[in-house]
């Protein structure tokens, strides 16, 4: 079995959610077949600048074939086109222009897929929103399996992606919420799909005491791991934690791990440790009383899964359907939407050891049942087996013609998004 993993960036040092997801999947599927990664020469997801050499190299034993990006992203043009397609009545041409502006525009990659798609049994495309997935899935002619990593943002409301969701052979969803959202927007229930997610290589015995000693951290604390950014809900987290600090009953500190794009509030109970390697990160999570996940938009949240794998409860932003759904399904995390709920849930985890322990145990079990690597690998292999026995469909809709591209009849993406069903999926997904 030969599989192509197509992703916008790829590398050992690239830690973006979808990219890391792709690397893990590629490395684990490589144990069951021949895997090749097709990607670009970019490492920066903002500019898509060509920073790596084109050609083939090995990353952790997996061959990686890189292609140059034709042009970098112009933030002004991209912003203008985003405003157009997200907020106004627009045409298909506007959306295709937006996709071109978003990048990474790599016609060389698409040409390669067009010519060599038949060399692979299946092509796994990661992140539906990028150029490579939209054009690459069409070019792979019935071999495309999509890992959408879709979040509840305006992009999902763009019309060009609906044929993509309907035209691929199968879709590997990250969560039941993501599946429900894509079904609602594209009506692709007939496309084979399974909720898979991603595993994580969590150490068996992280040294929590070593972390405390190394960073001189005493007392109970909650940890946030990830980019410290307004888009990740960190601004709201700081506001809410400030409210929590005013509550004399609360004793938790907040430890922040990750690069920051926001000013960190100065308080003796808020510590920012910067970017840490995996060892320190896992030890920090093991030492913490809870992991806080304040993000509004998540397709899965690997950090939450890692916290559960380490037996730590998660406090998630309830405005994110996926996180809320994960908490409900796993019975391993609480969630908040208001300041009062934030304080109440944090105090509940802090002051009720039985509750925190039970949530952590549930999380560990949930991870083991659903996100352990053998489970993940088995789901992929089962899907390949299933597709092997099915006749490929007609593929995606043809690209729209000249007139169709210019018809200004597509609603604003945010209006489409607003009509999609909200809320977490059922307890059992």
């Amino acid at each position: 079995m030969k599989i192509a993993v197509v992703v916008q960036r790829y590398g050992q040092a690239i830690n973006g959610g979808a990219e890391l997801h792709a690397r893990y999947i590629a490395e684990h599927l490589a144990r069951h077949g021949q895997v090749e990664v097709l990607t670009t020469c970019s490492t920066d997801y903002v500019t898509w600048r060509n920073e790596l050499e084109p050609g083939v190299e090995q990353v952790n034993g997996v061959p990686v074939r890189r292609f140059k990006v034709k042009h970098e992203r112009d933030p002004l043009v991209f912003g203008k086109r985003s405003d157009r397609v997200f907020e106004q009545l627009h045409s298909l041409g506007d959306e295709l222009d937006w996709l071109d502006a978003e990048g990474p525009t790599s016609p060389a990659l698409i040409d390669y897929i067009t010519k060599h798609a038949s060399d692979y049994d299946y092509c796994l495309f990661f992140s539906y929103r990028y150029y490579h997935a939209y054009y690459g899935a069409r070019a792979s002619r019935g071999r495309a399996i999509l890992v959408p990593t879709a979040e509840r943002d305006e992009t999902i409301g763009l019309s060009i992606f609906q044929p993509l969701f309907r035209g691929v052979r199968a879709i590997m969803y990250n969560s039941p919420e993501e599946r429900a959202m894509i079904h609602a927007v594209a009506g692709n229930e007939s496309v084979p799909g399974v909720v898979v997610g991603i595993g994580s290589d969590v150490p068996n015995n992280p040294q929590a005491a070593r972390f405390r000693q190394k960073y001189n951290i005493r007392g109970p604390f909650a940890v946030y791991v990830g980019r410290i950014d307004q888009n990740k809900g960190c601004k709201e987290l700081f506001e809410f934690f400030d409210g929590y600090l005013k509550d004399p009953a609360g004793k938790l500190s907040l430890v922040l791990i990750g690069n920051t794009l926001l000013p960190i509030p100065e308080h003796k109970r808020i510590r920012h440790l910067g970017f840490l390697d995996d060892t320190d990160k896992f030890e920090a999570m093991a030492a913490a009383d809870a992991l806080i996940m304040p993000s509004y938009y998540e397709s899965l949240s690997m950090v939450a899964l890692e916290a559960w794998a380490l037996g730590r409860p998660v406090l998630a932003n309830g405005k994110c359907d996926v996180l809320k759904g994960q908490c409900l399904r796993s019975n391993a995390g609480l969630f908040y939407e208001t300041l009062g709920e934030f304080i109440g849930t944090l105090e509940a985890i802090e002051q009720n050891r039985w509750l925190a322990g039970s949530l952590g145990r549930n999380g560990r079990q949930y991870f083991k049942d659903n996100y352990d690597w053998p489970v993940i690998e088995r789901k992929y292999l089962d899907m390949f087996e299933r597709l092997k026995n099915e006749v490929p469909g007609p593929g995606g809709d043809p690209l729209p013609g000249w007139f169709d591209r210019r018809r200004q009849d597509l609603p604003a993406a945010q209006d489409v998004l607003a009509k999609l069903p909200k809320g977490p999926a059922g307890r059992h997904g």
Binding site: A249, S358, N362
Partner: protein
């Protein structure tokens, strides 16, 4: 949020979240988001402002209704040196120019030209100033509208805050009520003991003058305790029926009888009347008049002047005075402090009584039954945990002539409040 009613091993997050939300509602009232507050404010604005045709989103409406200000084009004239002699007909203009020296011989038109020119400029300046003023006024209007809008938003927020505070006051009031009930339950036990020692006190003989005639007949248990040296009873000792009811009834003074009914009534009524605190203080002072609890209960040696017990009694009285002063402000905290201090005083009394009992000279053998009868009973009650009301057995043994003691007060949910 220290406790949850999740009893099963499998945690149900939905259930826990419901409990947390319930506690939040209980503690803080409804937790409104900024958006909800604005929506509420909009509703109120509609109520107030609709009659005048102003919408709740009045600022936007106002801006829509009021287009950008363009100063009106007021009529004006331009007046320059040659304005008087201008004409669109060239021959006439030429003739006027030719005859201008002649005209200027007849009169001087320059002041007229100058005045009209000034007037023209003044008109322009006034028009510009009016335009600026109008624009400023309109901006101020927008600001006023915005201010009114913000005021309404803030008023709504304040209204919600007041509601929340009311709920907190209710919560605190329930805690206060619980504390007072607990205090009454405690004082009920103590006051009752104070009536008992008061009764025999006038009859209590000096250690050197035994009066076996006034003592109740020694019970078998008391006979066992007729030892040369007094042995304090064990804390686990449950109060027996120490004194035969007829004897107790016979020796109960009228004062004690008159004090009992409010106690019984208070124990039966969950609330407390306005005069109850002062009554409680009077009871406490009455108790103080008879000495500290241990002294009143007749701890050996406590009545001896100059002994350790006496000194402790003075200290206890001082502490109780301090408690009374604290009590005067009527705050819940003071009540709690009072409870704690009261416990401390009584525990001090117990310790002193124990100390006095262990250090006192062995009383005369014939005095021992009387002393034991007065010592054992209160000590058992006082050592018992304070919040719990006396058990039915204890109640019946302590106050056989009274109705059953107040049941243990229901545990107030507010007592779990981590704040």
């Amino acid at each position: 949020m220290p406790d949850f009613n999740v009893r099963s091993d499998s945690v149900n997050v939905e259930q826990i979240m419901e409990q947390i939300r319930g506690r939040i509602r209980e503690k803080r009232g409804v937790d409104y988001t900024e958006q909800q507050i604005r929506e509420l404010a909009a509703v109120k604005l509609e109520k107030f402002l609709d009659p005048r045709g102003v919408r709740s989103d009045l600022l936007d409406q106002f801006r829509k209704a009021q287009p950008a200000y363009e100063p009106p084009e007021l009529p004006n004239f331009a007046f320059e040196d040659a304005t008087l002699f201008e004409s669109h007909r060239a021959p006439i203009r030429w003739i006027r120019k030719l005859l201008m020296p002649l005209l200027k011989l007849l009169f001087n038109p320059n002041p007229l030209i100058q005045a009209l020119n000034i007037q023209s400029r003044l008109n322009t300046i006034n028009a510009e100033r009016d335009a600026r003023r109008e624009a400023a006024r309109r901006q101020m209007d927008q600001l006023y509208y915005e201010l009114v809008h913000n005021l309404v938003v803030e008023t709504t927020r304040t209204g919600i805050e007041v509601k929340n505070l009311k709920m907190r006051v209710e919560s605190i009031a329930s805690r206060l009520e619980f504390n007072e009930r607990r205090a009454r339950a405690l004082e009920g036990a103590v006051v009752y003991r104070s009536t008992e020692p008061d009764e025999p006190r006038p009859q209590r003989p000096a250690p050197q003058i035994p009066q076996p005639r006034q003592q109740p007949p020694p019970r078998p248990q008391q006979q066992q305790q007729q030892q040369p040296r007094y042995t304090p009873p064990q804390p686990s000792y449950t109060a027996p029926v120490p004194v035969a009811p007829p004897t107790q009834t016979a020796i109960a003074p009228p004062a004690a009888v008159t004090e009992q009914p409010p106690q019984a009534q208070g124990a039966g009524v969950p609330g407390e009347g306005p005069g109850q605190r002062s009554r409680r203080r009077r009871r406490r002072r009455g108790r103080r008049g008879g000495g500290a609890a241990a002294t009143i209960m007749g701890a050996p040696g406590s009545a001896q002047p100059g002994s350790t017990g006496a000194a402790g009694t003075v200290e206890s009285v001082d502490q109780m005075d301090a408690i009374d002063r604290i009590d005067d402000d009527g705050s819940p905290d003071s009540e709690e402090m009072h409870d704690a201090a009261g416990e401390q005083v009584e525990q001090t009394g117990i310790a002193e009584a124990d100390h006095a009992a262990s250090t006192a000279e062995p009383p005369a053998v014939d005095q021992a039954p009387v002393e034991h009868a007065h010592v054992e009973q209160p000590r058992v009650e006082l050592v018992a945990p304070l919040p719990a009301a006396p058990s039915a057995t204890e109640s019946s043994s302590v106050a056989p002539a009274e109705p059953a003691a107040a049941p243990p007060p229901a545990r107030d949910p507010a007592d779990h409040d981590p704040q």
